[in-house]
């Protein structure tokens, strides 16, 4: 089977529709993962043993099971208990929860890396717990985390094709549907691959820049 450029131009608008949804899902998922991760990281530091252990186990469980199954779970099981979510929202929640358990580790490392002296200085200045976190710890902990967080957001971007399994019309799903309509798999699937490769290569450059800008981070 030969590569057909006319066919490529013909399907391009449909694929671009898919790209938009892919990017939207990644953005929503990233925001959610950033928030969920911070929540998990803070909960695991809580003096309340039941809370920190419980959250730790749940995070471990989510990290040890496949994203695809979690997506199915959110999309098919939650309606049974009366929560009906649109596919894209279910997908973003799945991505956010799954990657939130990864970003939680990044936050944990970032917070642990803030020197002890900063905590002691905050105490000496008579800052409350809330003030210590928002003015001393978080502003110092966040910048070194940025490259590692970005790394996970890129990984999440590469997982978005899974959303096609729960009927989100993202790039992979659009490619599959044009492939099924015209019985040509070569161009659509190759284009999807090329698209992801292009974005990943660009993001590698972006990551290098972030690493330079925000200093080195231990992996």
């Amino acid at each position: 089977m030969d590569w057909d450029w006319n066919f490529v131009w013909e399907i391009m608008p449909t694929l671009i529709q898919g790209v938009k949804i892919t990017i939207l899902a990644t953005l929503l998922g990233s925001v959610l993962a950033a928030i969920v991760g911070l929540g998990i990281a803070l909960a695991r530091r809580s003096p309340n043993k039941a809370l920190s252990r419980g959250v730790g186990w749940v995070a471990e469980f989510i990290r040890g099971t496949p994203l695809l199954v979690q997506l199915y779970f959110i999309f098919y099981v939650l309606p049974d208990i009366g929560i009906l979510l649109p596919p894209l929202v279910a997908g973003a929640i799945g991505l956010g929860l799954h990657y939130g358990t990864y970003t939680a580790e990044v936050y944990r490392a970032g917070i642990d890396n803030v020197p002890r002296g900063q905590w002691e200085a905050a105490k000496a200045c008579n800052l409350s717990a809330r003030q210590t976190w928002s003015h001393i710890i978080i502003p110092q902990a966040i910048p070194p985390m940025i490259p590692a967080l970005a790394n996970y957001f890129i990984a999440m971007f590469k997982e978005t094709p899974l959303l096609s399994a729960i009927t989100v019309l993202e790039l992979m799903n659009q490619a599959k549907s044009v492939a099924n309509t015209y019985y040509r798999y070569l161009e659509p699937i190759t284009l999807v691959g090329a698209f992801f490769l292009a974005i990943s290569l660009i993001s590698v450059v972006l990551l290098r820049w972030l690493e330079r800008r925000y200093g080195k981070i231990e992996r």
């Binding site: 089977m1 040890g64 199954v69 098919y76 049974d80 997982e159 399994a165 798999y185 992801f196």
Partner: protein, 219 residues
Amino acid sequence: MTQWSGYFGLIMQGALVTIELTLMGSVLALVMAFLAGMGRLSRFFVLRALATAYIEFFRGTSIFVQLFFAYFVLPLVGFELTPLQAGVLALGLNVGAYAAEVVRGAVQSIGREQHEACIALNLGRWQGMRHVILPQAFLVMLPTFGNNAIELLKATSVVSLISLADLTFQAQVVRAQTGNTMVPFTTILVIYFILALLISWGVRSLERRMARGLDGVRV
């Protein structure tokens, strides 16, 4: 009341397929990791370039897209693959690319003095690698290999989308036949989690075993 025992058997069959895929994929990934990891450290530019291209390509595109490429596009150029072969190929090559960087990092982490000792003892490049560097580097690789194996286990769920009857696929079958979503999906989430725990336990005990002979060599 649904007859769950029969359905449970179905899910167990799926678990066998998942385990089979994980094992075969891991073997391929291990081979690729050493080939590409060593390739990146090679003296020859061609080998380095080949290894880098392989690693960047497979890390840069999504596992899902690679799987679809292997299953739908390769037949068009004359490679007819069964779903199982396509699954093992895509999983092994994808995770192998990640693990190759682990191999490279671990070999580079071995101190300079070990290389110098090899030269002093008049060992060839290959002999030094085989008897001095790799036994030490392997121990450094093991924990990350464990994480990679868990990633591979989680990625196996994707093969259900190319009609391979793994855990996720069987859960869908059970869901279609019983109309119950909660039970099959919760069951497979737990099974995946147990498999992930088994892998991390296996890797930890392997690590202890391997470390035994190296007492006093490593700090």
